[in-house]
Amino acid sequence: MNDDRVEILLVEDNPHDAEMTIRALKKSNLANRLIHVKDGAEALDFIFSRGVFSERSTDNKPKVILLDIKMPKVDGIEVLRQIKSNENTKTIPVVIMTSSKEEQDIITSYNLGVNSYVVKPVDFEGFAKAVSELGFYWLITNQYTD
C-alpha cells in the first residue's frame, strides 16, 4: 500500500457542504486521505492526471469518489459519464451526493453506472450520519480490488 494513495475524492463546489462532509468523515476517522476538488473539470483533471495533476500517477486511483451533481463548468453527470466510460477508471466506486431528488437525475446516474445515490438531508445530523455511513461502506466494508 502506497502512503500517497488517495482514499476519497470529494467533488463539491459548495465550500460549506464540503466542510460539513469533511467534518463528518473526520469524526469517523475517514478523512485522512481525502482530496477535495471544486468542480467537474478539476475532478476530471485529477482522475485522468491532466492539467495541474499531470504529475500524478494514474495508477493512484481513489477508493471512492463522492460527487456532487450541480457544479460549474462540468457537472457531476458528465464526470460520472467519463469515469464510467473509461476502461481504467470505470471500476472506481462513485457515489452521487446531491440536494436534488429529481427522478431524472437519479435515473440518468444509475444508467451511467453509479454505485450509490444519496440525497443530502437538509439537517446536519442526518447529513453527517449519511456521510459517515457511506464512508464506512465504501472504504471498509467494500474492499477495493486493484
Partner: protein, 596 residues
C-alpha cells in the same frame, strides 16, 4: 314487434319506390278489371240482342214459308173436284182431283201427297210422291189440330235417317170436315248451306229447329239430341255445351209446331274482351316497370343529396372539424336549402373549432410554459434552498458542538432555536416538494388489499410511537383499484394524524373501517383525540393550513392537503367530521372502477 319485416327498416329510396309501385299496380288492376267487366257485359248484351234478332228473323222466315205452303194446300183442299172426290169416297172426280194433288208436287221434297176421308182412310194418292211415311196419321192429327177451313204444318217426325213434316188441310163440305189433304215434306237443307248460314250469323254459332214439345231437335242436317231444356221463349238461356258455356235464344215459328233456337259460345263472344284484357295486362306490366324505374330514379334524386348530407354530418359528428366537407347540391328545392344550411353550419363549426383549437393550443403553450417554470422552481427549491439551509443547520450544530462551553444559557437557547427552526424549514421544504411532485406523478392502478395495507401502516407507525399504548381497531376493509403507493401515503397521513392528535388522551383509541356503497367504497379513520371545530372544517385540506399551534402539535400542514390531492386524482372525495376534545373522523371514498 316480433315481425321480421318492417317498413321502418327500408331506406327512403326503397320506400318511395315501393309506394309508387303499389299505387301504379293497384291503379292498373282496378282500371283493368273495371273495364274488363263492363266490356264483357256490353259484349254479352250485344251478342244476346243480336241472336234475339236473328231468332226472330229466322222464325219469321220459316213461318212465312210455312204459311205459303199451307195456303197452297188449302187452295187444293177447297177445289170442288177434291171435295166431290172425298164426298164420293173416291168414286167421282177422281181424275180431276188427282190432277189437283199432282199440282202440289212442286219439287222432290214433297214425298207424299194424299187425300184422306174423315176416318183417315186414304181416298186418293198422287203418283208423283211415292214415299210411304210410316207415321200414325191419327197421332199426327191429334197433335196438329186442324179445324175446318184451315191448313197447318205439323211437327217434324224422324223416319229412318230422314225427317219429315206434315202439311195438313181440311176438306170441308157444308161446314163439316169430311176429309184431309195430307202431304209430307222432307226437311232437307244442304250442309254447305247451313255452314254458310252459321258463318254469316257468327263463328261458333249453332242453329236449331225443334218441335215445340221438344220431341225432336235438328241442326237442319240431321236429328240431334236436345242441347238444353226450353224454359221460356225470347229470354236468353245459359247452358254448358261441348264448347263450354253457351247462351241461346228460342222463338216459336208461326203457323207451325216448331221453334228456332240460336246458341252462341260465350268464349267466342268474349274473345275480343279477353284479348283486350291481355293487352291491358301487358301494358300494365310495362307501365309498372317504367314506374319502378321512374320511382327509383326520383327517390335517388331525393336520397342522393340526403346521403351526401348524412356522410358529411357523420364526418362532423365523428369530430372531423379540421377539414370541413362542403356538399355540392345544386338544386333549388328544400334539399338544396338544407344543403346550404348544412354548409353554413359546417363552416360555422369549422370556424368555431379553429378558434377553439387555436385557443387551446395557445393555452396549452401557456400552461406548458407555466409548468416548466414550476418545475424549474421546484428544482430550485429542492436544490438551491436546501443547500443554504443545510449550511445554516450545519454551522449552528458546529457552533453548538465546538463552542457550547463558551455560551451562556441564553446563547444556548438561541442556538437551540436556530437548529430546531432550520429542521422545521427542512421538513416544510420536503413536504412541499412531495406535494408538488404529486401533481406530475402518473397514476398506476392495481388491486390494493386495503386490509393488509392498513395493518402494515399501523405497525410501522406504532414502531415510531412506542411511548403510549394506542388501541387501534381495524375493521373490514374491502380491496379497491387504486395506486398502491399513493393510497399508502393517504393511510399513513390519516393514521399518523390520528395518533398525533390523540396522543394527549389517557386512553387513545383509533378506529379504521369502511362503508360499502353501490359505486364507491368509503374508508374512514376515527380517533378520540382533540378533534376540531367544524367551523374550520373547510380549512382542513388546504396547504399549510393548521388548526393547532406548533407547540401543541408539530406539523407542516401539508399532510391533509396531500391526502385530498391523491383522492382527487382517483376521482374520489374526502371529508371530515369532528368535535373539539371529543375526536375526529376522516373519510375518503374511492370509486369501484377507477378511471385512470
Amino acid at each position: 314487434m316480433s315481425n321480421n319485416f318492417s317498413l321502418n327498416r327500408l331506406s327512403i329510396q326503397q320506400r318511395l319506390t315501393l309506394l309508387i309501385c303499389t299505387l301504379l299496380l293497384s291503379a292498373i288492376v282496378i282500371y283493368g278489371f273495371a273495364n274488363y267487366y263492363s266490356l264483357k257485359k256490353a259484349s254479352l248484351t250485344i251478342a244476346s240482342d243480336r241472336i234475339g234478332l236473328l231468332t226472330t228473323q229466322i222464325s219469321t222466315m220459316f213461318g212465312q214459308s210455312a204459311q205459303a205452303v199451307t195456303k197452297l194446300e188449302y187452295a187444293t183442299a177447297t177445289q170442288n173436284s177434291v171435295v166431290q172426290c172425298v164426298k164420293s169416297g173416291g168414286k167421282d172426280f177422281r181424275k180431276e182431283a188427282l190432277a189437283e194433288l199432282d199440282k202440289l208436287h212442286t219439287d222432290s221434297t214433297w214425298v207424299s201427297i194424299e187425300l184422306l176421308d174423315q176416318n183417315l182412310v186414304p181416298v186418293l194418292r198422287s203418283d208423283k210422291a211415292l214415299v210411304n211415311v210410316n207415321v200414325d196419321t191419327k197421332a199426327v192429327l191429334a197433335f196438329t189440330h186442324v179445324g175446318p177451313d184451315s191448313s197447318k204444318v205439323g211437327k217434324i217426325y224422324k223416319v229412318g235417317d230422314s225427317m219429315y213434316y206434315p202439311v195438313i188441310a181440311t176438306v170441308v163440305d157444308k161446314g163439316r170436315t169430311i176429309g184431309y189433304v195430307m202431304c209430307w215434306q222432307m226437311l232437307r237443307v244442304a250442309p254447305k248451306a247451313v255452314a254458310q248460314f252459321t258463318q254469316l250469323i257468327g263463328t261458333g254459332t249453332r242453329l236449331y229447329i225443334a218441335n215445340t214439345d221438344g220431341s225432336l231437335w235438328t241442326n237442319l242436317i240431321k236429328p240431334v239430341a236436345a242441347p238444353f231444356k226450353i224454359n221460356s221463349m225470347g229470354e236468353p238461356i245459359e247452358y254448358t255445351g261441348p264448347d263450354g258455356l253457351m247462351i241461346a235464344k228460342v222463338q216459336p215459328v208461326p203457323n207451325t209446331g216448331w221453334l228456332t233456337a240460336i246458341a252462341f259460345s260465350e268464349q267466342n263472344i268474349l274473345e275480343g274482351v279477353n284479348s283486350f284484357m291481355k293487352w291491358i295486362l301487358i301494358f300494365g306490366l310495362l307501365l309498372t316497370a317504367i314506374g319502378i324505374f321512374a320511382a327509383w330514379a326520383m327517390s335517388r334524386n331525393i336520397t342522393r343529396p340526403l346521403s351526401q348530407l348524412t356522410r358529411a354530418a357523420k364526418a362532423v359528428s365523428q369530430g372531423n372539424y379540421s377539414s370541413p366537407k362542403f356538399i355540392d347540391v345544386n338544386r333549388n328545392d328544400e334539399l338544396g336549402e338544407l344543403a346550404i344550411a348544412f354548409n353554413i353550419m359546417t363552416a360555422e363549426v369549422h370556424h368555431t373549432w379553429q378558434n377553439l383549437d387555436n385557443k387551446v393550443k395557445e393555452r396549452t403553450l401557456q400552461l406548458e410554459r407555466v409548468n416548466k417554470e414550476l418545475e424549474a422552481f421546484s428544482y430550485s427549491v429542492s436544490h438551491d434552498l436546501r443547500t443554504p439551509l443545510r449550511a445554516v443547520s450545519g454551522y449552528s450544530i458546529m457552533l453548538k458542538e465546538d463552542y457550547e462551553d463558551k455560551l451562556d444559557a441564553e446563547g444556548k437557547r438561541i442556538i437551540g432555536n436556530i437548529i430546531s427552526n432550520a429542521r422545521m424549514m427542512g421538513k416544510l421544504i420536503d413536504d412541499l416538494l412531495a406535494f408538488s411532485r404529486l401533481g406530475k406523478k402518473e397514476l398506476t392502478s392495481t388491486k390494493v388489499d386495503m386490509q393488509l395495507l392498513a395493518i402494515s401502516v399501523v405497525n410501522e407507525l406504532l414502531q415510531e410511537n412506542l411511548e403510549k399504548d394506542y388501541k387501534i381497531n381495524i375493521g373490514i376493509l374491502p380491496p379497491i383499484e387504486a395506486d398502491p403507493g399513493m393510497v399508502k401515503q393517504v393511510l399513513m397521513n390519516l393514521l399518523s394524524n390520528a395518533i398525533k392528535y390523540s396522543s394527549k388522551k389517557a386512553e387513545p383509541e383509533i378506529e379504521i373501517g369502511s362503508e360499502d356503497e353501490e359505486t364507491r367504497t368509503i374508508y374512514y379513520v376515527k380517533d378520540n383525540g382533540v378533534g376540531f371545530d367544524m367551523a374550520y372544517a373547510g380549512k382542513l385540506f388546504g396547504v399549510f393550513q393548521r388548526l393547532h399551534s406548533q407547540e401543541e402539535f408539530e406539523g407542516t400542514g401539508v399532510g391533509l392537503a396531500l391526502v385530498k390531492r391523491i383522492i382527487d386524482k382517483h376521482n374520489g372525495e374526502v371529508w371530515a367530521d369532528g368535535k373539539e376534545n371529543i375526536g375526529a373522523a376522516f373519510y375518503f371514498s374511492l370509486p369501484k372502477k377507477t378511471i385512470v
